[in-house]
Amino acid sequence: MDINNYMNIKLNGKDHLTKALTISQLLNELGIVSERVAVEVNRRIIKKADFDNYPVKEGDIVEIVNFVGGG
């Protein structure tokens, strides 16, 4: 793998290498359906409508959350 094509981001608390340039591409790369997740980049919540255009940049802190069992 050519490391130069990859960016290093912090994804859900862990270092992650990605080629994705947008949130949509990142979700796609991860195989995550955007329908029922919420995404935060550098503590800012990204609206689903902006996933296609919102850029992923080197060093970004990305959180992707969904619903799990809870009381």
């Binding site: 859900n12 862990k14 991860l30 195989g31 997740v37 959350v65 799990v68 069992g69 809870g70 009381g71």
Partner: protein
């Protein structure tokens, strides 16, 4: 039976039993429990997506948001800032504007930090959330939450997961007397009679997780809770008799052999 629907902020609820989805063996069991309970509201938590095991099943593939009302919580949040962050993420996930707001004050008791809770309720209500704050059984705080814009107030019966039942029915009674919004008991129920007591007091609904999830047979307990809530509600509406120290005969004295 006459229609006795619970309506909160225009949202109609078909059951007065609400179910938490935590601590079940798997999602198959969760679904069976929800079905057996007759609940149409299920609470969920907001957590990081499992990046490593991407094929792991998703709760909402089992509990269909088209069929059930999803009530996300802010469990695990100890600050106003965190509670707001989780609430906003939950809403952005796109299934609900409702939030079961928890601002926890202490790890051991999981009692709410009512100061933070009040502040967060006010902010989220202004942002258009349908806020269900989890609070203690303090009538003054309940009133303040109502004033801050809570859609309903959710006092605890006892600490979360404790199964101690309704520890202070008199406080609940005072909360109910003053409340203009629905009162939903959240936490503390241990068995079906606890749920019935809450409903007999006049509470509008009961939210149960651990008492069902931790039972030997969760599906059977879910069914027990369903009847317990219906029973308590009916008894409340029917109006119980007063308590007296001495007996009153049920059979007539007239016609007795002398």
């Amino acid at each position: 039976m006459q229609e006795d629907r619970l309506i909160i902020k225009g949202i109609e609820f078909s059951s007065r039993l609400w179910i938490g989805t935590g601590k079940y063996k798997d999602f198959e069991e969760t679904v069976k429990v929800v079905e057996a309970s007759g609940a149409d509201v299920v609470t969920v938590a907001v957590r990081r997506v499992n990046i490593i095991d991407r094929k792991s099943p998703n709760l909402l593939d089992y509990v269909d948001p088209k069929k059930y009302k999803i009530l996300p919580n802010t469990a695990g949040c100890y600050t106003v800032e965190d509670a707001l962050r989780y609430s906003r993420l939950a809403r952005e996930a796109g299934v609900s504007d409702m939030i079961k707001l928890e601002v926890i004050g202490d790890e051991k008791t999981l009692f709410p930090d009512t100061v933070g809770l009040l502040a967060a309720t006010e902010i989220l209500a202004k942002e258009g959330f349908v806020v269900f704050p989890y609070t203690n059984d303090d009538p003054i705080v309940a009133k303040r939450l109502e004033d801050a814009g809570a859609a309903a107030v959710m006092p605890l019966g006892a600490p979360i997961g404790s199964g101690l039942g309704i520890r202070n029915p008199y406080n609940l009674k005072i909360i109910l007397e003053a409340a203009k919004v629905p009162i939903i008991v959240d936490a503390g129920v241990g068995t079906s009679s606890d749920a019935t007591i809450a409903m007999e007091l006049g509470c509008d609904a009961v939210l149960i997780n651990t008492a069902i999830a931790g039972a030997k047979d969760p599906i059977m307990m879910a069914e027990a809770m369903k009847y317990a809530v219906i029973s308590g509600r009916l008894a409340y509406k029917a109006g119980r008799i007063g308590k007296k120290l001495y007996a009153t005969a049920s059979s007539p004295l007239e016609g007795m052999l002398i």
